[in-house]
Symmetry: C2
Subunit: 290 residues, 2 copies
Amino acid sequence: MRDDAGVIEVPGAGQLVVSVDSVVAGIHVDLSVCSPEDVGWKALMGALSDLAAMGSPPLGALIALCVPGGAGDGEVALGVMGGVAEAAVASGCPIVGGDVSSSPELVVAVTVLGTVDGPGDDGEPGPVSRSGAVAGDALFVTGPCGGSAAGLRALRSGANAPTAEMAYRRPVARLREGALARRCGARAMIDVSDGLALDLHRLADASGVGFRLDEVPVAAGATLDEALGGGEDYELVLAVGEGDVSGLTERSEAEGLRIPLRIGTVLADGDVRVLGDQELERMGWQHRLG
Amino acid sequence: MRDDAGVIEVPGAGQLVVSVDSVVAGIHVDLSVCSPEDVGWKALMGALSDLAAMGSPPLGALIALCVPGGAGDGEVALGVMGGVAEAAVASGCPIVGGDVSSSPELVVAVTVLGTVDGPGDDGEPGPVSRSGAVAGDALFVTGPCGGSAAGLRALRSGANAPTAEMAYRRPVARLREGALARRCGARAMIDVSDGLALDLHRLADASGVGFRLDEVPVAAGATLDEALGGGEDYELVLAVGEGDVSGLTERSEAEGLRIPLRIGTVLADGDVRVLGDQELERMGWQHRLG
């Protein structure tokens, strides 16, 4: 029920948004289809996505890297840190601390810090939780889903699907879209880390509401099941009051950000969770194929 | 050469002191002689010690816990988090985020956040680095060293040495001593994580100075080698200008804190690093017996 990121009060200094996330080789990433650089990139972006879902710009990240001690693992460590550095530049999030240990398996634990109290944010809304959706809100997603799962499938089968492969290997946290949605009055947000269906259920659980999903934007090359249950897309699901919809859409366009796609409506009855007229299963990461 | 903790500027909100540290079973802790609760305690205290060495009170900690997925490991995870919680209470550091994954080996990565800009700190000195020592400074340590190494030795041999065992299983970060030393004008600090000798060399390296060590306070039951090279004592080494020595001593006594023990003097010549009239080896964690 809780948000991916926590909020702490810094005495005399407003709110800090914080989150930690681990990537373990063999559990969260398949090293036979992605490079150490990819692992580093995915680890940082996955953690940053939790800040994006709160609408918080990043202040910095700390990396705990555990690498097996065998031959060539210095290269693995350098590769992972190279991927972390690329993601840090791409997302505007400096790396402010790190620690390297040996361990039997590659583990990358990433802590991210953010704040919504930066310059120009005076009087603007605080961090957005997943619990604020109310009946009648419009549901949006910042982009089509399932690309990451389709990419993993393609990489494993040897199919040629470069766009999907990049979605798996180099996902992007929607930091600017999340921050804009917060400023535009989004009432609840969550990132699609474990699957659109499961993450939407979580938002509905936390908010005590139901939903009707009218559309499922499916990424090129992905199946509907992958869009609903694939995860690691890191698109954001937003609940927005009708009165704020046009502002959000216009400002997204004006700022050159992804235009949120309308996918459904929040319902008062928490027991009603439907796609069209079918009940929507809690499909998600647990169910992932492969 | 860098400090264990980093400092980041929060826009409009002063400085945040941050650090991350990992504990890997079989590498940093020996699960045959300490419990999951001990591992959790040691992981948080080890990370907090990096804040102590900057003179920074803690704001909060985030825990990434990776546990093997086999039978009984739910209990390991609960045990580790129980020990983390005990250390959090003992140190006044709330746990503000966490993540649990499975992995082949137990890994606990702890990120700690602190600030020296809290209420009552207006105009007081910023975080203390390890690089500010100058020739003529007095060197202090907040307590005798080697207790942790002696405790590990006793636990492995089955000897009865409860005080030393507690020093190994339940070390204490010297947060209040570090904060007071900062307020009293300490010019450089480092915590004894890898051994008094090695950590003192690191302080001297960062400051571009030498030192003469006159005394090595040895913990009860420990050997001189354990005091110099044992590590995980988490006492603080301080370089203090002569003019600030009496203030530090008096305020430590007045506030009921550990009275720093004078161990030597900072020298201008960076090549002179002696214990009495012998060159002091860079002995430390790398050399640890067992």
